[in-house]
Amino acid sequence: MLGLGILKGLSVTLRHFVETYLSDLKRFPRRYAPQGQARRLRPTERGIFTVQYPEERLEMFPRFRGALMQLTNPETGIPKCTGCGICARFCPVGVIEVVRAEEKRDGQYLPQSFTWDLSACLFCGLCVESCPFGALYHTPEYELSTYGRQRGELMYDLDRLLAWGQKYAPDGVPPVEKEK
């Protein structure tokens, strides 16, 4: 009957109401998750679902398509990228620009310059898929906003991408490949 259904619904919402306070009690003196590292609630878990963003951040999953990074070969210490420019050709909006250097090093071509224009990138991942040398990958980085695009803050050059590569794949293997 309708009345029983209403009572049942009321009991469900009241349980949620109470359980949010219980989950608050569990981490009582603190208000945010330790080290700001929030965890998404599993379906079986109860309590408050909110991730309080600037204080807490969710860990991104390995296949997350964040900013690009250039990997370095850990054995030779030079970039894996050969400056072939296939990523630039595959890019549907043309935000990647590659210039190959004249001379080889350790028998491998190298990029003279590699720029990625974040302002128009649509994070489709075609560049990553098309890279024949496994040099280009996504980082879990997603806080990419800046205060001005005139100052070239959205133009990422090789050094910045390589630095991210060092940070997220120091052993030359990105998180996606580890997952496989």
Binding site: I6, T13, H16, I48, F49
Partner: protein, 383 residues
């Protein structure tokens, strides 16, 4: 303790005596009236601020969220941010709107809500005007808000607004009938329409024990009367955008919001006064009891809002005319019978007889419904 109990009453006597020392009596009386009005409006505004915050917090918790928690400790200053936003927003009047009516409606919707506050007994002796037709006054004044909502819907020259206004009128007129009929039981018990005597009549037992069914009918119709979920059809955002206040922005929109929140609180306060014994209670001062009871009922309002989905318009009308009105009429008749039969037989027999009568009514409703379901099955089998 005694000092706290009559704090506000004594304060008003003291101020009046102080003024009467160097002013003629009529001037002192006038100033006291204006002060009372200022107090009521101040109370209403403070209530809105608190309720706005409380509702968002509690609704958040019902939905596994925090609610506002950024502005000030626990988000308590959120209303300041909201008020600044409302004040600085552009005030738009649609080009084809009926300008006079469009601008009149937000004012008209707020005024009756403040008027109703005048007869609410906040504590012992704490009533601005003890009208001997108190409840009738409340019913009459609160229906004025309906006109304002229809004006808003009509004046906006917008299909959604007009639909919302029409829905509001249909709903409010329908639900006023069971609301008044269910409150009549209380008035029969006290024999007075005055809110103060209704509270004083509950010194031994709150009327919810005598009329649980009446309370239920009153509560359901009161929710519908103030357009709150699950009866918020006049502003159903999934169907008609924002209903009658679609075209309003800035301060005028804030007026509708204000009226809505204060109406919801007033309805809870009236329910607390009629059925829960108003300011009656031990240990705590009377005004604290009154606020506690009103907020307890307001919590149930929020709880229902967080639980129930919106009704369809035909379900809404069906609930009022096919279910609540007949039930309220039966309840009224049976309660009249019970009161007449137990006259002079003491309180205990009255409570017992009322509870038995209420149980009988509920049993009758269940039996009728069961019979109807059984009949429907029989017909299906035959077909």
């Amino acid at each position: 303790m005694e000092f706290l109990n009559d704090l506000f009453v004594n304060l008003s006597y003291w101020i009046h005596g102080f003024l009467a020392r160097f002013l003629p009596l009529w001037a002192a009386d006038l100033i006291m009236m204006l002060l009372t009005i200022a107090c009521l409006i101040g109370f209403a505004l403070a209530t809105i601020m608190f309720i706005n915050w409380l509702e968002r917090k509690v609704m958040g918790r019902f939905q596994d969220r925090y609610g506002p928690n950024r502005v000030g400790p626990l988000g308590i200053l959120q209303f300041v941010a909201d008020a600044i936003k409302m004040f600085t927003k552009e005030d738009i009047t649609p080009a084809n709107a009926d300008r006079v009516i469009f601008n009149l409606a937000p004012v008209m919707v707020v005024v009756p809500t403040f008027l109703v506050l005048a007869v609410l007994p906040f504590g012992r002796g704490m009533v601005a005007a003890d009208l001997n037709i108190g409840f009738l006054y409340i019913v009459a004044i609160s229906s004025l808000g309906t006109i304002a909502i229809l004006l808003a819907g009509w004046g906006s020259r917008n299909k959604y607004s007009l639909l919302g206004g029409m829905r509001a009128v249909a709903q409010m007129i329908s639900y006023e009938v069971p609301m008044v009929l269910s409150a009549l039981g209380v008035i029969m018990l006290t024999g007075s329409l005055s809110m103060v005597s209704i509270v004083e009549g509950q010194s031994r037992v709150p009327f919810i024990l005598l009329q649980p069914l009446g309370f239920l009918i009153y509560f359901i119709s009161a929710i519908a009367e103030v357009n709150r979920a699950p009866f918020d059809l006049p502003e159903a955002e999934s169907e008609i955008i924002a209903g009658y206040h679609t075209e309003y922005s800035g301060m005028k929109y804030a007026m509708f919001l204000l009226a809505e929140y204060i109406n919801a609180f007033i309805v809870s306060a009236i329910a607390a006064t009629l059925f829960l014994g108003g300011w009656q209670g031990s240990l705590l001062p009377p005004y604290v009891w009154f606020l506690l009871k009103a907020y307890a009922i307001y919590f149930i309002l929020m709880w229902l809002r967080g639980t129930l989905p919106r009704l369809r318009i035909d379900q809404l009308m069906g609930l009022a005319w096919k279910f609540l009105v007949p039930l309220a009429l039966v309840n009224l008749l049976v309660m009249g019978l019970v009161i007449t039969l137990t006259q002079g037989k003491g309180l205990f027999s009255l409570v017992l007889a009322s509870l038995v009568a209420n149980g009988l009514i509920v049993a009758a409703v269940v039996i009728i419904y069961a019979f109807a379901i059984w009949r429907r099955r029989q017909v299906k089998v035959a077909a």
